[in-house]
């Protein structure tokens, strides 16, 4: 307390606290498509964004709004960005999610040596701590400019579970998947050609249970690499499916595909220890996850 005045200047860019570590682990795992993966974290007064990228063709972002946190003290000027290993970050967070216990985790950046510091703050006498070394991120702008393809958006929303299943089923035919949007009859087709052909149709009017929303005014088709498409659903958290959520897919200029999932992060894993807290919690605190997939180069 006594030296708080002195620390004023050196206050860390961010100290935030989160109640449900499992939810955070779920959200981050959703964008973890391989073991060794570098991520960039971007801090702002609105929240934290985690970005991962691969081969210039696939990018994913996890948006953690400040409302998800029970404490969010942001003191930085500008928007600090730093890189770290996503794998280590998730492994560390997992250490905080104790079975049968709810734990409040504190995240601080930077530490004395520019680390990301994680600490459990439930009890004064027992705590788990982790430090992850950060690095200066690549200066290349990782932003995939997603722009609408025309005046009317090309977009559809499909049940996340159905999307995941469809993409899994497309594994055997081959490496390239064509996504076709057809206004009449309104439908979405996923087609793979390779060792064999497989086509999966989602008809908007026939099965509105699966295809929840649909917007398209002209026939559109683009091809995407299977492995990138699969990365968008392969680690979808089980809560997304349990809660029967939908995923929104949009096709932008040049065929850029955007896939959006919603992951709920606020539900405490064990409700009975949280009886008092449930009252004031917002019913659904959600992390947004976005994937951007570039289409395959076409010959024409």
């Amino acid at each position: 307390m006594s030296d708080s005045g002195m620390e004023e200047e050196e206050a860390p860019d961010l100290i935030c606290e989160l109640e449900n570590v499992n939810g955070l682990v779920d959200a981050l795992t959703a964008v973890r498509w391989k073991r060794q993966q570098d991520a960039v974290l971007e801090l702002s007064e609105h929240g934290i964004v985690l970005i991962v990228e691969e081969s210039g063709c696939l990018q994913a972002k996890v948006y953690l709004k400040r409302e998800l946190f029970i404490r969010y003290d942001y003191k930085a000027r500008g928007r600090p960005r730093f890189g770290l290993s996503l794998g280590y970050f998730v492994d560390c967070l997992n250490a905080f999610s104790l079975p049968g216990q709810s734990s409040v985790i504190q995240i601080q950046y930077p530490g004395p040596d520019m680390q990301l510091l994680l600490k459990s703050v439930d009890s004064l006498d027992a705590s788990i701590c982790a430090e992850i070394r950060t690095r200066i991120p690549d200066t290349i702008a990782w932003n995939y400019n997603f722009e609408p393809a025309g005046a009317n958006p090309l977009t559809f929303t499909v049940k996340s579970a159905a999307l995941k299943e469809a993409i899994e089923d497309l594994e055997w035919p081959g490496s390239s998947i064509e996504i076709i949007l057809e206004p009449d009859p309104p439908s979405v087709t996923l087609r793979a050609e390779g060792h064999g052909d497989l086509q999966i149709d989602f008809m908007y009017y026939v099965n509105s249970e699966l295809l929840v929303a649909f917007q398209c005014d002209h026939r559109t088709s683009f091809k995407y690499k299977y492995k990138f498409l699969r990365a968008t659903t392969s680690n979808m958290p089980s809560t997304v499916i349990k809660e029967n959520r939908g995923s929104k897919l949009s096709i932008g200029r040049g065929g850029m595909l955007k896939v959006q999932h919603l992951v709920s992060i606020s539900k405490p894993s064990v409700s009975h220890t949280y009886v008092d807290a449930v009252g004031y919690q917002q019913p659904g605190r959600i992390a947004h996850i976005e994937f951007f997939v570039k289409p395959e180069e076409t010959e024409d």
Binding site: Y88, L98, L124
Partner: protein
Amino acid sequence: MKFKAFLTDNGVNLLEKRFLPALEKTGKSCHLYLTRDHALFLHNLLNGDGVHSVAQFRKEALFHDYRISSNNDDRIAFALDLSLLLRALRSAVAVASEYSASAATRLEIKLVKKLSPNSTQSMPFLTLETRGYKSAVIQDIPISKPLSRAQVTELQSALESAQELPPTLVQVPDLNQLLNLVDRMKQVGDVVNLFISRHGDLSVQVSTTVISLGAEFRRLVVIGEQTNAPSEDQNLSAQTRSSRSISRGDGQSVQVSVKHFAKSLQCHLARPDCAFYGIAPQGSCLTVIFQFFIPGSRETDKSISLHCRLPVLDPGSG
């Protein structure tokens, strides 16, 4: 050389449900050392590496009608495969439960020599015999040749030197929680740094150049040499407190293998009532002592004891 006894219900329960599953995690094979009064399961006492573990039972804790004789002061020791013993015991329990409707079954355990099918030489076995009203089920567990007199002496002296207590022991709050953490630590690194102070601090930490992951506990119950935590240290970080404590001489740290540390925590399968960690003098090893209470009381059950000693990778500081 003769050994024959009947396992009590409590003994079967202790071994089958608690100790053998825990000991199996320490190592598949161990020495069973039988004396006039005790039965001991010993891991790695003769070969230096690995976790030393000693589980000791007073004969009454496991057996009745316990008979042992050997020309080495009635001491017998041999190596056996714990998973085989556990399997045999489980099936004996299953058989016994089928019989038990009619009458009490007796589970006899004894040492025998038998001709094995493909050999002309007779081999030693530990035999479990479940005798029911009309039939009996016999299971032979192959064991090593009994240890020689010299080896038994060596085992006995290793055992005696393993009894020495660290000057300070701290009580670990929640083995399960720690085990969960250590499972994560295994993914980070191979070496865990452990710090224990006389005022009840315990911290465990794995670090590499990129990452460090650990837990710290304060104000734990201390047995043995203890001091009060200096008040000026209250608000310092764990790292600063431990380095100050080491330089003052009231704390000590050692490095042990994460795998060994995890194995020591697996002992919670034996359902101990308390667990204590301590560092042996000169940081020679990390000792873990498990305490068992007489059921329904807070009194130590002196007929059962379990402790482990973890080899230290680096004598550390302090």
